[in-house]
Every structure is written in C-alpha cells, then in structure tokens.
C-alpha cells in the first residue's frame, strides 16, 4: 500500500460510517415524515367538522351526495375486518401446515423446489392477484356456489390468503428451522411419534417465530389494496354472509382519492381513514410484540 492511500484510509472509514448513520437516521425520519404528512392532510377536518360518532357507527358513506354528505365508515371497517379475518382463517392453518411439512417431512430435493415456488408466489404483484380474482375466481365462485356475483368477500379473502400464505410459510419455516436439533433428538429418543414431537416440542419451541409469521400475514391482509379492490365487489354494506360483496378501507382510499378535490372534506376524510389504518397495523404490531414478550418471559 502506498503512503498516500494509507493516509486516506481513516477518511474512507469516516465516510462509510457517516453514510451508514445517514441511512439509519433517514429511515426513521421518513417513517415519521409520512405519519406527519398523512395526519396533516386530514388534521383540519379532523379538528373542525369531523363527526367521530357518525364515522364509527354509521354505514352511510355518501361523500359526494349533493344534498346531504355523510361519512359513515362502519361498513368499510367491517369490510376490512371481515375480509382479513376470513383470509387469516384460511391462510394460517394452511401456512403453518405447509411450514411444518417443509421443515419436518419433506425430502431435501422437494424442499428446494417448494421453497423456490413459494418465493415465486411471494413475488407476484398484487394487481396480478386482483386480476386472478376478477377473472378466474369470479367465474369459479359463480359456478361452484351458484352465487349471483363472484366478486365478494370470499373471493377477496381467498386472494388475500393466497398472498399471505407465502409469507407465513417462509417465516414459519425459518422459525422451525431455528429450533435446535437437540430438541428433536431428545423427543425422538424419548419415544415421541412425529406428531407428538411437532405438537409438544417444535410448535411450542418455535411459537414466537410462528406468531411473528402470522402477524406479518395479518399485516399484509389488512394493508392490501389493489387485490381487494378488484376482487371484493366494492359495495358498501355490512355483509351477512361470505358470498356478499364488501368494500374495505384501503380500497376506498384507492378508489376515491383521485377524484376528491384536494383539501376538500372528502379528501381529508380519506386521510383520516389512512390514519385509522395506520393505527390498526400499529396496534396489531404492538399486540404481537407484547404477546411474544409475554410468552418469552414465561
């Protein structure tokens, strides 16, 4: 090394350090900036004309009515929760089951293949999923269930489930892989069957990771926009069965923000919905965190 270059070495170190620091700090900065921006866009209306009572309890969402504008989001909130819940009801057993299969039962060759397929599934853009819902699932549901329309809560939930399963599988499989092999040896040597080993040893030992997998799956379902917009039928009402169309909070923002005049009440209410979504995912994450820590301490 020449003397000149050696001279530059500390400077290089310093630059790299600064750069990494900048990356870290800016990530935090952007998250806060986004939150503040979203909140500011809705703040005016939030503090003056916003009727929280109506927003949370009424199903009457008439943002563009000429005579009587109403912003009741109850149906949208129900829509989001019902679709997400049904999606998780389908995705969690499948996802965790697949994770257990891949990590414990699968011959190594098949394992590699399956993991590639799952990564491919995770990489499919959501608009493509929405398209599948709109075309294939739509006609399938009409034919199988004799439903009047195939674009409904069930369709949306299946699409969401298909989108979250890859996440649950890959994170769940990581969690199971992280369970030390010595636990398996101990269980096998004590005479466990495969299933006893899975239910009594592996799942409890990996529960934090598995819970994280499920939570990320839920997060994906609650936050997803494009696919549910295309697959759920987009009708504002409280569903009485899984074959009825619904509309979600996210789909409402996506569909209406473009047409709402900037800074109008409608525009601001959509931002308030954004804040609500923010809060929901935040609460889910915090809850997950507490559950994980609570279990960890036990």
């Amino acid at each position: 090394m020449t003397p000149g270059r050696r001279h530059l070495e500390p400077l290089k170190e310093w630059l790299i350090e600064r750069f990494i620091w900048l990356c870290g700090v800016s990530a935090i900065f952007f998250v806060f900036a986004i939150f503040i921006f979203v909140f500011r866009e809705g703040a005016d209306y939030f503090f003056s004309g916003f009727k929280a009572g109506e927003f949370f309890t009424s199903i009457e969402w008439y943002p563009t009515s000429r005579t009587h504008v109403r912003y009741g989001a109850l149906a949208l909130i129900t829509g989001t929760f019902s679709v997400s819940f049904l999606a998780m009801f389908l995705a969690v057993p499948f996802g965790l089951g697949a994770a257990v299969f891949i990590s414990e039962f699968c011959p190594p060759r098949l394992k590699e293949g399956l993991k590639i397929v799952i990564e491919l599934l995770a990489a499919i853009p959501s608009v493509v999923w929405g398209f599948i819902g709109l075309t294939i699932m739509n006609s399938l549901i009409v034919r199988l269930f004799n439903a009047p329309i195939g674009l409904n809560m069930f369709n949306g939930a299946i699409i969401l489930a298909l989108m979250s399963v890859p996440i649950i599988v890959s994170i769940g499989e990581d969690a199971l892989k992280a369970v030390p092999d010595s636990y398996r040896e101990a269980a096998v040597a004590l005479g466990c069957t495969r299933w006893q080993m899975i239910f009594r040893v592996l799942l409890p030992a990996a529960r934090n990771g598995l819970l994280a997998a499920v939570m990320l799956g839920i997060g994906r379902a609650v936050g997803e926009t494009m696919a549910v917009l295309m697959a759920t039928g987009h009708s504002i009402r409280i569903p009485h069965g899984v074959l009825e169309p619904v509309r979600t909070l996210t789909a409402t923002i996506a569909a209406e923000l473009g047409e709402a005049p900037v800074h109008s009440d409608h525009y601001q209410v959509l931002f308030i919905i954004g804040i609500l979504l923010f809060t929901i995912t935040f609460v889910i994450n915090i809850t997950a965190d507490f559950i994980v820590r609570g279990i960890g301490r036990k």
């Binding site: 010595s182 269980a187 040597a189 004590l190 005479g191 069957t193 006893q196 009594r200 030992a205």
Partner: protein
C-alpha cells in the same frame, strides 16, 4: 439361554453412512445390570454404535445397517418391533444436556404423557416427579423450582434432569454418550456417583473419552478402533492386562 445374562447382544453389526462404513462387523454384548464403557479414539464409531441400540441413527436418511441387534432377547429390527416401545425401554442421555424448553416438571412427566393415551392423575404425576428427582439427587435443590424453565438450570442440573426424565418410563437400558464432557470436575463426580447408584436397576452403556472415568465407573469396558470392536473384558482386566497390542497402546496414551 446364556443370552439372558446380557441385555444387549449384537452380531456382525455393520453400518454405513452413505458410502462410508462406520461400523465393521461388531459383535458386542452388554451384561445385564452392569455399566459397560465404550472407549476408543475420536471417530472410531462409539456414538454410532450407541445410537444403534435405540435406532435413532435412522433419523439420518443415508444410513444402512446389516447384522443383528438383540435387546433383552428381542431382535430390534423385527417387523413387529415398535420404535416407540423400544425407545421407551431404552433411554438416552446426550453429550450436551438437552432438556426440552419446558419447565422442570414438564420435562420429567413428558415421557409419561407421550406414552399414555389417557389423562394421568395429577398426584401420580407429582409423585413420579418427586421420585425421579430424588433418584438423581436433585429433589432438595429443585423441589421449589419445578415450575421454572429447565433450560435456565445450571449445566450439571440440566444433565441430571436429562437422566431423571428417563426414569418414570422405567427403562431397562440407559445409553449415555459422553454425559460428563460438558460438566466440571465436581459435577462429573456427582454424575458418576449417580451412575453407580443406578447400576443394578438399569443396564448402562457409557461412551467416554476419559479413561480414568471408564476405570472409575465401569464394570466392563470395550475398546473400539476404526469401526471395529477390538477388545471387550472386565474393566480391571482391560486396563491391567490388555490382550491386544492396539488396546495396550491406546490406554498407554500412545494415540487417541
């Protein structure tokens, strides 16, 4: 029926990991109720032989075995042998203590739970736990800690717990793979004492690298080299008058 004096009898046992032959025609006998030590240099196949006796070697996909293994007179490769029953009667203690990530209490009743289809009554379980902990000399230390995580105990307590959790299943044979290699001198002494107390009730096979340990705890001793069983006799005889030159060289510390 001379075999009844022996808990374990193998005949021409050979084992391959893929292409690699780890056991070569091993014919080994372990006397009922005694402690038999397996010694030999690293990689000679001690662990492999031990893991044949409860068939946990089969966890690895690439293992082929030929020959015969009889435990308590029964060929363990017979069609009608249940692996679950086999592993119930043959307990195993590992090199690194591996209690399950459950409480002390749950670790000890684990075996009972998996082997009995019905729900067990709580006082019988409590009794089994007390008995097992007493047998391994942990009752005084752990009677108030039964609800704490087994993985938070000290290493020697963990290893004794790993022995204790076998006892409620009333095994005939206990296999130990270098059970003291993660423990300090004092804990090693305690585990050795424990083994001597358990001998008689159980047939114990212990793999060890430590020849002083083999001398202290074992009644019989078997020397292995490169997958072969070279010599097997009473421990005093093996250490004082080894018959094979290679055994003599090994116990004198010339290789290994």
């Amino acid at each position: 029926m001379s075999d009844l004096a022996y808990s374990i009898v193998t005949r021409d046992l050979s084992l391959w990991y893929g292409e690699f032959q780890a056991l070569r025609s091993v014919s080994f006998k372990a006397r009922n109720g005694l402690i038999t030590a397996l010694i030999g240099p690293s990689g000679c196949g001690k662990t492999t032989l031990l893991r044949c006796f409860n068939r946990v070697n089969e966890r690895y996909g690439n293992v082929t075995t030929t020959g015969e293994i009889r435990l308590l007179g029964k060929n363990i490769y017979d069609e009608d042998v249940s692996l679950i029953e086999l592993r119930k009667s043959v307990g195993m203690v590992f090199q690194r203590p591996n209690p399950l990530p459950l409480t002390v209490y749950e670790n000890i009743v684990f075996g009972l739970h998996i082997h009995s289809p019905a729900r067990l009554n709580a006082s019988a379980l409590d009794e089994a736990v007390e008995q097992a902990l007493t047998d391994v000399g942990l009752w005084m230390d752990l009677k108030d800690k039964q609800k704490s995580k087994a993985t938070s105990l000290s290493l020697d307590q963990q290893q004794k717990l790993c022995i204790a959790r076998l006892l409620p299943l009333k095994p005939e044979i206990i296999l130990m793979d270098e059970p003291c290699s993660a423990l300090d001198v004092e804990a090693t002494r305690q585990v050795e004492e424990l083994m001597l107390e358990l001998a008689g009730r159980y047939t114990i096979i212990i793999v060890t690298h430590n020849m002083a340990q083999a001398k202290r705890v074992s009644h019989e001793c078997a020397f292995m080299l490169m997958g072969e069983l070279i010599e097997h006799s009473r421990t005093e005889d093996l250490f004082i008058r080894p018959l094979d030159k290679r055994t003599a060289e090994y116990i004198e510390g010339r290789f290994g």
